[in-house]
Amino acid sequence: MRRILSYMEKVKGKSILAPLFKCLESMFELFVPLVIAGMIDQGIRKENLAVIWHSLFLLLALACIGCLTAVIAQYFAAEVAMVVGKSYRRDLFHKILSLPYRDYNELSASSLITRIGPDIFQIESTVNMVLRLLMRSPFIVVGACIMAFRMSARLSVLFLFVLLLLSIVVFGIMALTMPFYKRIQVSLENITRKYRENIMGIRVVRAFCQEEKEEEEFLEKNQDYTKVQITVGKISALLNPMSMLLIQFGLMGILYFSSKMVNDGRLFQGNVVALTNYMSQILLELLKLANLIILMVKAYASISRIEEVMERKNEEDQSVNDKEAVTLSTRNQATEKVQKQELDANASSDSNKAGILLKNLSFSYEVGEERALSDISFSLKEGESLGIIGGTGSGKSTLISLICGFYADYEGEIFLWGKNLRDYSKRELRESIAYVPQKAVLFSGTLKENLLWRKKEAKDEELWKALEIAQGKDFVEEKGEGLDLPVSIEGKNFSGGQRQRLSIARALVGDSKLLILDDSASALDMLTERKLRTALEGYQGEKSLLVISQRVSSIRHFPKILVLDQGKLIGLGSHQELMENCSVYQEICASQKQGKEA
């Protein structure tokens, strides 16, 4: 809420003027029955033509001014809502891209997308409506009562009574139906899920002959949904008849009570007409107010969902805060500092030899959860390459993520080329490391735009060179559009293998000291992978190469191979050494070739 108010503050004048003009408009509306009453009592009954003309003119003037003020109000309201929506979207997008990696695992992409899409639209249109109606409706209701009071204090009691009953009915029905909306939502999600499951899994459903069972399950969910909807419908169906009943009773009450007063001469006929008019106005505005409140409740839910994201810490803040927390909380920070300096000194003394140095590295994705990596230590000389192998969930990708600096809160230390990873700036780190992620994704646009990610000013020749090494040149050329080849969303217009090759090429553009391939050739056939490997060897030069793979054949030629199993380092050495002393490695090899080749 506070954030929305702060956005509105930027267009403060308009945020105030919009409801203000709305109030003006409703004030003019409230005058109308008065004019009519005057026309009847002063004009018709006293046969004064001038008053009638005068009233007619007044009514027309009120209509014009009312319209004008309304248009101005709508304009301001639309503009304020637009500013709120725009600012909120901008800030949320920025926030989402500033979250630490950990949060992406926790918040699903689709939930984030709902927040930045439909949720903000909901808020935007609610702001619009609130500016237009939140002041207007109560203003008219209260105004009508005051007008009634001015004409007859006694009858205004009747007004208040009807207003009270009406509010009970309108808001009571709203309160009764509200809890059902959650159930409707859940029920609808069930139906959607059933549809999605059956579309995605149609082969399995048919293969296992489960069509009828699925239909039965769907039927149940479908009926359930209809049942809730009808329950809510039945309650809401009471709203219109009941409010009409109350208002008409009110009108009849006015007629009944005013008849005596008119007879006694305490009230005029025109006043009676005006009072009945006010009574009808109250109903309309109360209904609008009820709808507005439903809107606001929905928008509030959207706001809380968004704020849940906005209140998270940013990536950078977090590491800084953590560091501060560490330094503040430890009483013997001096000794720690010394220790760190010692470590750093050790590392840098080896710096000419050590390219990558890991000391007692441990990491878990969630506090209290099992460690994804525990106590990993090893070192690589500058330019030395490493293959990493292990089963699914052994921690291979986690290790890479830590070296790339994606997670700051690991235990132990990482040194890259003699400098502690924690002291690297993001830019420096990204420029030193070229990374090919496991999931090959390109972004919509052109191929060239994608390839320029690591080096904005790279020349076309450099891009072609990268494509050639990544074994992507042939098929790119075949498509005949060169580097301007269009890329659709997430690169879906390429096959899995093609995407992998292009995402390798992307990492090869520009300079780097370390090239990391995270199982990046899994979709390539053996022939292509072999060609890629040879090309990479030629390209490598002074760079270190870090390759994760599930295939022994992809890493066995590395002088150093690291074997991970359930987050622990259980083997490090050449293929030959590991074949002798690492049983898991032996098992992996055995599982990948049968008998005689081994």
Partner: protein, 586 residues
């Protein structure tokens, strides 16, 4: 324009077919709507009459007023009751019609040939079946609840107006076209802006889906700032269009209200003149004024409802497009496959292609003995999966035939044919249900113990026990937190429990690491013994033991034979094989 109207009308009648079973409810709804409007519109006349009885000091006719109040009470009760009946019936009617539509859509999914699912984006079908059907539901509801009432209100108000004072009725009537004209003018402008807005919304949604879905990647390449700048550009554009669309559409309201106020003023003024002349009573004037306030409301309702209905009809045409895709014909002559199934297959002269332009499988013949293991290898797009589609009869061949145990496919029911098979696919599909039910999928008669036995053989018993509620853990859609490998193991357990005569393994172990695979393979080998099987695999190591290996390329079987035979042929297979074990031979 006319064409569009044509399709809208078509959609309307198609939708009407779903309403037809509820025709009595519909009739009741229409009658109630008519009567409730008649009675509630009669009230202002009575109100006017009552006011005439309260003429002024010492001029109140109490007896007459009492009479009128009694009458008002009766009319009011009738109006209220009919309105309530109408609301009830409409709720019942619209939700049941939509329920039927959903049900039809679901059974349609089960009944169409696979090609009509495969040829579309799943998200696209889904949005038709969910968002679009919801839209229809909305449209139906407002059609019944507001549209009919609004139409009746206009007609009946006009009737009562003429009854009261025809000259004043004419004044209001003259304003009607003006009101429509303004609404139409504004909504036409607004429509253009709305189109811009929705296009721009689509753009920004696609952009943010891509960026947020791959936020990690963007940050790894420091592309977050440039993407943010691009986003802001789109954001600015969207905001501009939204503002225009919202403002223009919000103009309808003040302007129709203005016309309303204009009508009100004219009725008041002219009415007052008539009162002076003595042709109109003050009570009648107040009745007229009451009508004048309400007069614009139904017009407003209709303009807002019409967009809703148009949207609903557009949605309906998308839904019916899908629903009208031809369903599979029930076979004229269906026989059951005699049990036990031997698993002999005879493929003769098969031709198949998904599209006319691109030929795929051509003249494929193959005979498989009972208990033979057939492996299929080849580069992507060579037709491996297509062959499986034909074997499972997900697709019908263009030409040629397949026979199982000597019985041609054409004569067998789908169920009887598919019961002979057990299939594990590369994409492991799990439904949101318990682990137990997921493994028991397709063999509901199996006991809990049998399920656990199968899970043990597939090597997933261990991790299932680690789940919060073991076998009774409810998996969220698509397996939730389970890893790809774990999901695949569950699918393997599912097939092991089913114990089919013929096995199809399409990259069944692709997401499992080789060490785990080795364990599953042991179980598979157990299963494969004495069973006809088709195995598609990337890793050649997994298929070396097959009785026969088919090497496919561009839809044709180019080599065929056992592992040793193929190596001796020194062809495509040898090449593939060597590249895989390059490392081992160095």
């Amino acid at each position: 324009m006319t064409r569009q109207n044509g399709t809208a009308a078509e959609s309307f009648w198609k939708l009407f077919a779903f309403i037809k079973p509820y025709k009595f409810s519909l009739l009741l709804s229409i009658i109630s709507a008519f009567l409730s409007v008649v009675f509630s519109l009669f009230l202002p006349i009575l109100l006017g009459k009552a006011i005439d009885k309260i003429a002024g000091k010492s001029a109140v006719d109490f007896a007459g007023l009492g009479q009128i109040l009694k009458l008002m009470f009766i009319v009011l009760i009738l109006a209220v009751v009919f309105q309530w009946v109408m609301n009830q019936v409409n709720t019942y009617l619209s939700f049941h019609v939509i329920e039927d539509l959903r049900k039809k859509a679901f059974s349609h999914i089960q009944a169409v040939p696979l090609s009509s699912i495969d040829s579309k984006e799943p998200g696209e079908i889904l949005s038709r079946l969910t968002t679009d059907i919801e839209q229809i539901s909305q449209g139906l509801f407002v059609l019944l609840n507001q549209f009919l009432q609004a139409v009746f209100s206009i007609l009946e108000t006009a009737f009562f107006l003429f009854l009261l004072e025809w000259r004043i009725a004419l004044i209001l009537l003259a304003l009607t076209p003006l009101s429509f004209f303004i609404a139409k003018f504004i909504s036409k402008r607004a429509y253009l802006y709305f189109q811009n807005q929705s296009k721009s919304r689509g753009e920004i949604a696609a952009f943010s889906t891509e960026a947020i879905g791959n936020a990690k990647l963007l940050k790894a390449f420091m592309q977050d700032a440039p993407k943010e700048a691009l986003y802001q550009e789109k954001n600015e554009r969207l905001s501009r269009y939204s503002m225009q669309a919202n403002f223009y559409s919000s103009l309808v309201n003040p302007f129709t209200r203005f016309l309303n106020a204009l009508g009100y003023a004219l009725v008041g003024g002219v009415g007052a003149l008539f009162c002076l002349q003595g042709t109109l009573s003050i009570g009648q004037l107040s009745s007229l004024l009451a009508y004048a306030t309400q007069y614009a409301k139904p017009f407003n309702d209709i303009t807002s409802v019409i967009t809703e209905i148009q949207n609903a009809l557009a949605a309906a045409s998308r839904v019916f497009d899908f629903l009208e895709e031809e369903e599979m014909m029930p076979k004229a002559e269906i026989r059951e496959l005699p049990k036990p199934v031997e698993g002999c297959l005879e493929l003769s002269g098969l031709y198949f292609s998904y599209t006319k332009e691109q030929k795929l499988i051509q003249d494929l013949s193959l005979s498989v003995q009972s208990g033979q293991n057939i492996a299929i290898v080849g580069p992507t797009g060579c037709g491996k999966t297509t062959l499986i589609n034909l074997l499972m009869r997900f697709y019908e061949p263009n030409q040629g035939s397949i026979a199982i145990d000597g019985m041609p496919y054409g004569s067998l029911s789908d169920h009887s044919l598919r019961s002979a098979y057990g299939m594990v696919l590369q994409d492991s599909w799990l439904k949101s249900d318990t682990v137990l039910e997921n493994i028991r999928y397709g063999s509901p008669e199996k006991s809990r113990e049998e399920v656990m036995e199968a899970a043990k053989r597939a090597g997933c018993h261990h991790f299932i026990l680690q789940l919060a509620k073991g076998y009774d853990t409810i998996l969220p859609e698509d397996g939730g937190n389970l890893s790809q490998g774990q999901k695949q193991l569950l699918c393997i357990a599912r097939v092991m429990l089913r114990d089919p005569a013929i096995l199809i393994l399409d990259e069944a172990t692709s997401s499992i690491d080789t060490r785990t695979e080795e364990k599953v393979q042991r179980a598979f080998r157990e299963m494969l013994k004495g069973r006809t099987a088709f195995i598609v695999a990337h890793r050649l190591s997994t298929i070396q033991n097959a009785d026969c290996i088919l090497v496919m390329k561009d839809g044709n079987v180019i080599e065929k034979g056992s592992h040793e035979e193929l190596l001796q042929q020194k062809g495509f297979y040898k090449n593939l094989y060597e590249s895989q074990f390059q490392g081992a031979e160095n």
